[in-house]
């Protein structure tokens, strides 16, 4: 496969089989739906990024000069809501997962193609309502919409934002449902559970979290909306309600939601590291099961978001201990990836650079998570920029790095074109530098006492804030670059061979881009995952690289 050269005449594939807007809007092909999602989440990513830009510009100076307090509250709220619900949660599962899950297990499509399309439409309906909500005033409660502020006091558009998130949540549930059924029932002959790529294991674990967590936030939103519209008192202490109950229900979903973001990213990293070190993943079974372990443990730690909210010390003790336990499967992954690289034949291509970035940033994000899980340290740093830095290291440093790495790794399969390697390496470097410059100063800021969610701050915090804003600018450039050269490569990129990286996995054995039903004949798997010792080395430079 590695030797296959691009055909002079384009072969029939999923992109050129049908033309016209309707052939996209009514498609049930998982690969086309993945591209529909790619376009929509990119749109929301840049909206969320625009809010982030305004936040960082306001924080350039200690006084509130660019925006007023109310506007600032809305900016960070809308930044959080858009990025969490409309970018991070759908990002890897709905784009790369949609595209790759059937390909990797040798299926023609997901089990329920029409449900898959329905999930995209639900996402678009939710997204449209969210856009309308933002354009007509937005929300100012923070993305956590804590009660009773959200139900009894704020006069912003809580119910509308709630409806948007409710609908987008069901889009997420449908994606998870499709993956679970597909992975159980649609595997090709010979594709046993122990031969599944780790990307599939990660998506299986993610789907479990989506399926069991999302309904709880949905019902919580129903209660918040009912309470706000009818003044019921379910969460309002003045009427006998319990605001802590809201926080429990909210975090029961919203903590595991972090694993919806990070687990698929871990799946990408496993694929990338195996390919660019030319080795089977060290401790395959442990890495596979650690995904399930993270998904299960992730459901048992939610109250570590509530240590200072007034929960009992005994509950806090248990949740603190369980939160530490999440470190175990996470560390299993990091150590096994590192062990995979040991004595591997490492190639420093762009996807691998993102994987390196992921390893370092996820480790920092994870370890600072332990600070926050610690009952003694948490009261000191909670609600400060330390928390902001911590979760951005996981969500942006972890999840987004994995997403970008995966987009580069599979771009030849998705588009049939090679991306420009030099530019891609440069972008990876810019993202890494920009990211650290943005968020590392925030650890220090938080530790010395700068609270989150304020639009003004004392003058002595300015230097670090200026650094952070400068970093955000660099990061923004790093994110724009891939969008530009991916679009460029769709027209001008060198046509990709079927398996440009000489990688293992069924998705590389079909043509680039694949045909509508993925495989000409049903594949039969007779080998273990990551059989790189049989595949030999990376293809020589000129053959695989674009331009």
């Amino acid at each position: 496969m590695a030797t296959a050269v691009a055909q002079p005449v384009e072969r029939e594939n999923y992109l050129n089989k049908h033309y016209g807007a309707l052939s996209w809007l009514f498609t049930t092909d998982h690969k086309r739906i993945a591209l529909l999602y790619l376009g929509s989440i990119t749109f929301f990513f840049f909206i969320g990024g625009f809010f982030a830009l305004l936040i960082r510009l306001e924080l350039l100076t200690p006084v509130g000069d660019l925006v007023q307090a109310d506007t600032y509250n809305k900016l960070f709220t809308m930044h959080g809501m858009v990025m969490v619900f409309f970018f991070l949660i759908p990002s890897i599962p709905a784009v790369l997962g949609n595209f790759l899950v059937p390909l990797m297990i040798g299926a023609k499509d997901l089990a329920f193609p029409r449900v898959n399309l329905l999930s995209w439409y639900l996402y678009i309906i939710g997204g449209t309502i969210m856009l309308h909500c933002m354009l007509t005033g937005g929300v100012d409660t923070g993305w956590t919409f804590y009660t009773p502020f959200s139900t009894a006091y704020t006069n912003t558009k809580i119910v509308e934002a709630g409806i948007a998130i409710f609908i987008a949540g069901f889009s997420s549930i449908l994606t998870g449902l499709n993956f679970v059924v597909t992975i159980h029932r649609m595997r090709a002959p010979g594709m046993t559970w122990s031969r599944l790529p780790l990307f599939i294991w990660a998506h299986y674990a993610t789907s479990i979290v989506q399926l069991l967590g999302t309904p709880v936030i949905a019902i919580t939103i129903v209660l918040v909306a009912a309470e706000r519209l009818l003044h019921l008192g379910i969460f309002d202490p003045k009427l006998g309600g319990d605001p802590l109950l809201f926080q429990h229900l909210f975090w029961f979903y919203s903590h595991p939601a972090v694993y919806i973001m990070i687990l698929p990213s871990m799946g990408v990293i496993s694929e990338v590291i195996a390919c660019y070190t030319r080795k089977r993943i060290f401790g395959y079974k442990f890495v596979a099961l650690s995904s399930i372990g993270i998904a299960v443990l992730g459901f048992l730690v939610w109250a570590h978001h509530m240590f200072v909210a007034g929960i009992s010390v005994y509950a806090a003790l248990v949740f603190s201990l369980l939160s530490y336990a999440v470190g175990v499967p996470s560390a299993v992954k990091v150590f096994n990836w590192t062990a995979t690289m040991y004595k591997g034949s490492i190639h420093y291509d762009a996807p691998m650079l993102y994987a390196f970035g992921f390893l370092g940033l996820f480790t920092i994000g994870g370890l600072t998570g332990l600070f926050l899980a610690c009952l003694g340290v948490d009261p000191h740093v909670t609600d400060t920029y330390f928390v902001v830095a911590h979760f951005h290291y996981i969500m942006v440093g972890g999840a987004v790095m994995g997403y970008l790495g995966g987009m580069h790794f599979w771009w030849p399969k998705i588009s049939g074109r090679l991306y420009p390697e030099g530019w891609a390496k440069l972008a990876a470097l810019i993202v890494f530098i920009g990211f650290n410059l943005t968020f590392f100063p925030q650890f220090i800021l938080g530790y010395v006492g700068m609270p989150r969610r304020y639009y003004q701050y004392p003058g002595e915090f300015q230097v670090l804030n200026v650094l952070s804003t400068a970093g955000a600018t660099v990061l923004g450039i790093g994110y724009l670059l891939p969008m530009v050269y991916f679009l460029w490569s769709m027209r001008y990129g060198k046509p990709a061979p079927d398996n440009p990286w000489n990688a293992a996995g069924l998705e590389w054995q079909t043509q680039s881009p694949p045909t509508t039903f993925n495989f000409d004949e049903e594949p039969v798997v007779t080998w273990e995952a990551y059989n790189y010792e049989q595949l030999g080395d990376f293809p020589p430079e000129q053959e695989a690289r674009g331009v």
Partner: protein, 235 residues
């Protein structure tokens, strides 16, 4: 929610022939059935959040919840429980009739299921109307004055706490009723399929997974009835 349930049914049932991306009918049937079971697991979590809230407040405002529950019409609630249990029987008969090619029995039992579904909603509607008349609907017009707490002579329920009970009552039974309406929609569609002769011993997945959904909605009611109506009947 419903859309998914309907869509899950729909994805399978629209084309009686084997869909192109499945290797064999058995795989297609297994996938549909697993899909519905997984969907029902999400439904358990969906209602689970409400049951959790109910549990917290029942323990916190024990007497007030008892007092509030005594204002419900237990006879109508029990009648509705009977209606749903009967409808589960007619659903099972429908599945069996489809598997054994008894077309008349299939259509009869589907129609009976629909009648029982409408009967449930009708009775529920009467109960809701009574609550409106008594000003027990949470909101600005809510009133729950001087209602004695059962077992504690001389003590009266706190209207705010009773309002939480009624809020949960309306959200839980309302959500259940929404599921009933969706179920009725699914069964109307099944009836159309049966009428056209599309449900055969070889292909009856829609009635099977539609039945799973119906049973699930029944089971939710089996939990709602004692929690909302019967908690203080022993006093």
């Amino acid at each position: 929610m419903s859309d998914q349930a309907a869509a899950a049914v729909h994805a399978e049932g629209h084309n009686p022939a084997l869909l192109h991306h499945f290797a064999e009918p058995e795989q297609q049937r297994d996938a549909a059935s697993l899909g519905m079971w997984v969907f029902l697991a999400t439904e358990v979590m969906f209602f689970g959040g409400l049951f959790c809230a109910y549990l917290i407040y029942r323990l916190k405002y024990f007497g007030d919840f008892g007092a509030a529950s005594q204002t419900l019409n237990t006879a109508l609630g029990a009648a509705n429980t009977g209606v749903l249990i009967c409808s589960s029987l007619t659903v099972v008969v429908a599945v069996w009739a489809a598997q054994t090619a008894r077309r008349t029995l299939l259509i009869t039992s589907l129609i009976l299921t629909l009648i029982l579904g409408f009967a449930f909603l009708g009775i529920k509607g009467i109960e809701y109307r009574d609550k409106f008349v008594e000003h027990h609907v949470p909101g600005p017009s809510f009133s729950f004055d001087s209602e004695p707490i059962p077992g504690h002579p001389g003590q009266f329920a706190n209207p705010n706490h009773a309002q939480i009970y009624f809020a949960l009552y309306f959200v839980m039974t309302g959500l259940h009723a929404v599921h009933m309406i969706i179920g009725i929609g699914i069964f109307v569609w099944l009836l159309a399929l049966a009428w056209k002769g599309r449900l055969t011993p070889e292909y009856n997945t829609p009635v099977e997974i539609g039945g799973l959904y119906w049973h699930f909605v029944d089971i939710i009611w089996i939990y709602l009835f004692p929690l909302l109506y019967l908690i203080d009947k022993h006093k």
